[in-house]
Symmetry: C2
Subunit: 355 residues, 2 copies
């Protein structure tokens, strides 16, 4: 009160008003243990009273860091991005980090140099990389060479434990396969994502392996290749359903395509789930807003983002051991109205007999 100065408070003000040196104030700011209790409290009270906040630029310049994290992605799914950002920020809060976002073009030849430039320009302390860019090992290599800390979100183990957080999609799709088999389905269609992504293969293999394990011949001609779009879901559904022996269930590897499948089936006069069970992947906003609501798989996106951020900050702080804990997170199978037992009126026993 009184000196309502326009100039923001600095560490020198705090030092002067507390009757100590800047060094000691600095210690309090940085939670150094080597400060007397009384001194610390005195300083803290002055800090609180003036609502002092250290200047991150100056801090960074002196300490060689920025308290800035970066988020690098080329993913058209705004909901996924938003979810990740909120997860990241939920752990940044209180740790004093801020998040700088960087959507970019996966296919650009300058992806790597741009990414490095992004990090250097703002002196980012670390970056989190989202799929599908996270699958780019060249980029990861460039980061390592440039001494840029990073953590990737992925579906498979493509880096060391301190640099990756993995949604165990293989086990998730396996659970889906089992679920469908237990519902009595034997002819099960699969709509894959675009080629070239590792997670596409991971989901497909995981699904087929699980089917095989349950005695269903791996689904060779029951596989269609989509593009993660509604329209491609329609096209693939048509292909699958026009076969002489059409599937009784279709698992599309994302919700948009699954929505396309339901639409197509209904257009063709089939009832979902009566004549055809349909399942998706993502638990997107679509899942509960189409009829029937969609059985799907939900990745713990926000949790993954939180974990990735914790790892990254642990690594920045030099707590390398902590940066290594926790890698795999399990997606969960969400059963809604688009799937049904093939003989639902008979009450199928759904206990798996093997294992």
């Amino acid at each position: 009160m009184g000196n309502a100065n326009r100039q923001p408070t600095t560490i020198s003000d705090i030092a002067r008003l507390s009757g100590v040196s800047k060094r000691t104030v600095s210690r309090v700011i940085n939670n150094s243990p080597k400060v007397g209790k009384a001194t610390r409290e005195k300083i803290q009270s002055v800090i609180d009273e003036l609502n002092y906040r250290p200047n991150a630029q100056a801090r960074g310049l002196a300490a060689g860091c920025s308290y800035l994290l970066g988020l690098i992605y080329d993913n058209p799914d705004g909901l996924y991005i938003d979810e990740v950002q909120r997860g990241v920020l939920s752990v940044c809060r209180g740790l004093g980090y801020e998040l700088v976002v960087h959507p970019c073009d996966w296919r650009s030849d300058t992806l790597t140099s741009e990414a490095i430039g992004f990090v250097n320009r703002s002196k980012l302390d670390g970056v989190i990389v989202l799929p599908p860019i996270s699958e780019d090992n060249d980029l990861a290599g460039a980061f390592r060479k440039a001494q840029v800390r990073y953590v990737r979100l992925a579906a498979i183990a493509l880096d060391t434990a301190d640099r990756v957080v993995i949604a165990n999609e293989r086990s998730a799709v396996a659970a889906m396969a089992e679920y469908l088999v237990n519902l009595g389905h034997r002819r099960i269609g699969y709509i894959a994502g675009p080629e070239g992504r590792k997670s596409t293969r991971e989901r497909l293999e995981g699904f087929c392996d699980a089917l095989a394990k349950h005695g269903c011949a791996p689904c060779e001609d029951m596989i269609a290749r989509g593009a993660y779009t509604f329209e491609s879901g329609i096209a693939c559904a048509r292909t699958l359903l026009e076969r002489p022996e059409p599937p009784t269930a279709i698992f599309a590897s994302n919700d948009e395509m699954a929505a396309g499948v339901i639409y197509t089936a209904q257009e063709m006069g089939m009832k979902v789930p009566g004549d055809l069970s349909v399942a998706g992947f993502d638990d997107s906003m679509l899942a509960t807003k189409i009829r029937p609501s969609l059985t799907t798989i939900r990745r713990p996106v926000r949790e993954m983002a939180r974990l990735a951020t914790k790892k990254l900050i642990a690594s920045i702080d030099g707590r390398e051991d902590e940066a290594r804990v926790g890698v795999f997170l399990d997606p969960v199978l969400i059963i809604r109205d688009s799937t049904r037992s093939i003989h639902w009126w008979r009450e199928v026993n759904s206990h798996p007999e093997g294992s």
Copy 2:
């Protein structure tokens, strides 16, 4: 070549290697005109050769800026957020600015102090504020008092021209009203958003005024109050459709609620658009993925974000006149399959007779 040093190049390196002082290098970096042509070229060549990039932290600390913009919002719609971010970044690119994101809680009592803290901590050069927080005049006032530059995205003119970009929602909903009237509808239901937001009122008034202008008694008992959710759309639709004289068309003030209306109508055995026309607002991803596809209104979100960013940076650069140009952007009416003439088999003449 040769001195592949791990230390990043600094301005001093450039100065030494070019045989000039740091001051002159600084002039070149900042495009000062007062540098001899020969000197400039010499320095530039050294800069290029070493691929030197000035340290943004140091630059900011010395110059009192950060080349960082902030984005403040409390909006659950991830797609909207993502769209805005991409818009903002598309103009940041090349101007050397980065974007720091800050989702927060609208209702928190500490919203203002947190927002100011956010800006001060990272010494942001300016912030863009999204609805509904952008409607908070206390926050805006606090920003002005704290000398924080900002631009708000909004639906009404709640600030000076250099501080706001407006989607003309009033004219957009008026166009929708006109469209529905021209289809022959007279009993038109309206599902409003939650109270307390100015844009809620703006849309409602704009719609009713337009109806009145076309001779439809303003829709008093045809108005239901939703919450921008699918479920609330269902509830409101039920209310509206169970009236003795149900509407022949319903305009829901966002797509989610419109989807709920379509769902409910179909549940009740009505055909959309045969028995009931339905329209939404947002052109969300839902719009093309439900059946029938949704007639709706699309705001130029990305364009608004771009314009807001241009204004903000113009203001930062002191080009105040430039910061004032362009305020209103027009949403567009998108006609799909969920609306139809009330007498569609008769070929209604859709030319408005007034005007």
